[in-house]
Symmetry: C3
Subunit: 323 residues, 3 copies
């Protein structure tokens, strides 16, 4: 079985080697753990954003940052592309932000390979039937503060590895690397909704690909939470290749998957969040999905498309000013 | 002289090393030959499709699988990009499906570097003035069964190499890798028509590039033959940079090159094939060409464009369902 | 501090190693200097164009040559993409064509890392606060003749390095590599105008990206000077992420930056040049800028866009013939 932590470590080591070029900082903690600051006290870079995203995906995806010569309905932004031939493992088994890390006063959303060691949450790993038994743990943190020894010790313990084998990568929501890695969840947003909302067995997804615009830095971490969500919800395009079983309704799945099926669709995420009194649990879970979904049912040879790009909401979300 | 087989072998070795990640299988035959199963009993992957295509091109091309944020007239699919600065050698001297391999009951269309050793067909190698004398043979097979020792022995003999130096890569038409590698022939479809139909000296093509959508898996090998052809015929875009001689009519060449010049143009390939009583020889050879051709005559500085994308036929060919 | 010359040397060595595949020639001069002919007596290649451009940028940028499935208002050409997280150093400290090299009868515009050793011009390096003290000098020359020992000696002396540590890369304007590397200046055209015309402190630009079509070879070096300029002026798209200070007027900067703000905008460069009696100094400096500019002010979270693609002028400039 492929180890997402070992695959990720190869990329971590490459980042450490090129740290100056990547505008990142590498901090050795007293317990031997390594922190890669990708945006807290440093600028980060396009390349660091790409590698951070690939690490999040357990190394089992191709990640690129690209530019297009064409405007999509009046908007043109750099975008992140993801392609994976291990969709369940790389997106749900690794990339999903499934580990709410709380150690003392430190809080961060954890994602990436280390989750597969600590089984966060256990249910996901049962559903996708994956486990990793690497002796190294690589965890990605969306946070605006760097973690200390206590955090690393906690991660080491939860993962069953030595503290010196713990690697913590950190990028704030309001940073280039943070913005890239969140848009890089475009494929995961779809597999997540499949599994958690539509209760579809994601192991049947054999290949997947997707892209989403990278949100410019339009404010602080809170404001960026809105903008980064909108990139996927209103600008994300995804492709899923599914080996269906006889009783699967893939047409229904495709119809239900894009964000536009949600009752909360049509407004920037921040407005929806405000209407929900800033309570995540009041927001329709079905909204967290890509704007466009193309599904190829490779069993019966059908190709379905649902959803659409909504440039107007993207512009509104970003406060896009046309001069 | 560059050796397409030696260049390809570097990539083959990389594939063997990463076989688990690539979802491929590596089988050592009793005579020492190596078979890379890229889609018969395995799933294959985006990356395997890219590397298979690059191997087909003798390693002398850049191959990428990309995504675009823009819909082209209502259709958006992952696409394969090819760029080569050795167009004649990489497309006609290697990638062309010029070796109909028949050994016992085994049949497969062979393409790729080994053709340059076995000179399949001899005429092509005389016309492009290329030969390879490597002691290793790399052959790509479009087939839904894996080859055995007899096949490998036959290839070894035809290529004048030892069986243990034979590498056979296999992908069915109805597989992700198969679909990618066929769309990856978009540039070759043009150079092939130039040489075989329009009798233009392809050695004058100095650089070339192209892209074509990757067909979803819409059925079995037979159905996929139609869909994969349509990706190039109705969705392929190509760029050729030609050093013309005084008497060359490059404007005429560009006008004649795209698929739309054919009398059979306008319907999905499968319909054309059916009308021809499933007899390839009754189909206009001129139809097998990219949809769009841009030619830059670098001698006189002219730039010509002919042809157009036909999204309607692509949708029809794929049975594209808009939900 | 990162050394643009050392970073570039890594790429130079890769080019030397793959010279046959890249269609380039490597010439050792008697004084030990190395000349890489990328288009004078050789064809060059897509890959050589990409690496030449990356070397120009001191290795501190990602450079890609890409293709798009979509036509932008009727035009579709391969394009070059540039992303950098070291915009000031890579574009102005290295890529800028700031060294008019004249040695005996030899003349060429010099760009690339060696400028950072010879401080050409000194003012630029004071303004961006960068210096390199590498013992190796890599210089890129836009010229249709190869340099000799005298040229290499001159460069060595100006850079304070031994002649055997001098690497001179050469590509004519009217060559594939030349055309790629000029379009590859799309981001630099913007930072240059920021600094030289709008007097904005480019050190505040933290990340940048851009793309521009690659001009086909439409004539000799003189004709190509027009076409290559037009690719950026009428087809270039750029993204700048700026950390502004309190008194900066970033909206004004964005409004003033694209080429369309110039009084000379709207005609192919060659026509403008002719109207100016072929005198560069009579042309509005503000014209040398990308067609489209998107600026994200990361301090206050604003996103501005100014300018537009002008496919009509591009077609006119290239003599684009639709068949």
């Amino acid at each position: 079985m492929l180890s997402v932590n070992k695959k990720a470590l190869e990329i971590v080591n490459k980042m450490i080697e090129k740290k100056e070029e990547l505008n990142i900082d590498v901090i050795k903690l007293e317990n031997g753990a390594t922190v890669l600051d990708c945006g807290v006290n440093v600028l980060g870079s396009w390349e660091a954003g790409k590698l951070f995203t690939k690490i999040c995906l357990g190394g089992l995806a191709h990640v690129g940052i690209s530019l297009s010569p064409c405007e999509c309905k009046g908007i043109n932004l750099p975008f992140v592309k993801v392609k994976t031939s291990h969709p369940a493992i790389s997106t749900l088994g690794s990339q999903k932000a499934g580990w709410a890390l709380k150690v003392g006063k430190y809080f961060a959303m954890g994602s990436g390979p280390a989750r597969a060691l600590a089984k966060k949450p256990k249910k996901t790993y049962e559903e996708i039937g994956y486990e990793d038994n690497a002796d190294v743990a690589v965890l990605c943190l969306e946070a605006s503060k760097l973690p200390n020894e206590d955090v690393a010790d906690h991660v080491a313990k939860e993962c069953g590895v030595e503290p010196e084998n713990v690697y913590l990568l950190v990028a704030p929501t309001a940073s280039l690397v943070g913005s890239i890695q969140i848009s890089g969840r475009v494929v995961e947003n779809g597999t997540y909704k499949m599994l958690e909302v539509l209760e579809f067995d994601v192991n049947k997804v054999k290949y997947a690909a997707g892209l989403a615009p990278i949100a410019p830095i339009i404010g602080d971490d809170f404001a960026m939470m809105g903008a980064t969500n909108d990139m996927v919800l209103y600008g994300g395009i995804t492709f899923y290749y599914i080996k269906s079983d006889e009783n699967d309704d893939i047409e229904g799945l495709c119809k239900s998957l894009p964000s536009c099926t949600s009752k909360d669709y049509g407004k920037p995420f921040m407005e929806v969040f405000k209407s929900a009194d800033y309570d995540f649990y009041k927001i329709d879970k079905g909204m967290f999905a890509p704007a466009v979904v193309v599904i190829n049912d490779v069993t019966n040879g059908k190709v379905y498309k649902a959803g659409k790009i909504n440039a107007e909401v993207i512009k509104k979300s970003l406060g896009w000013i046309e001069l």
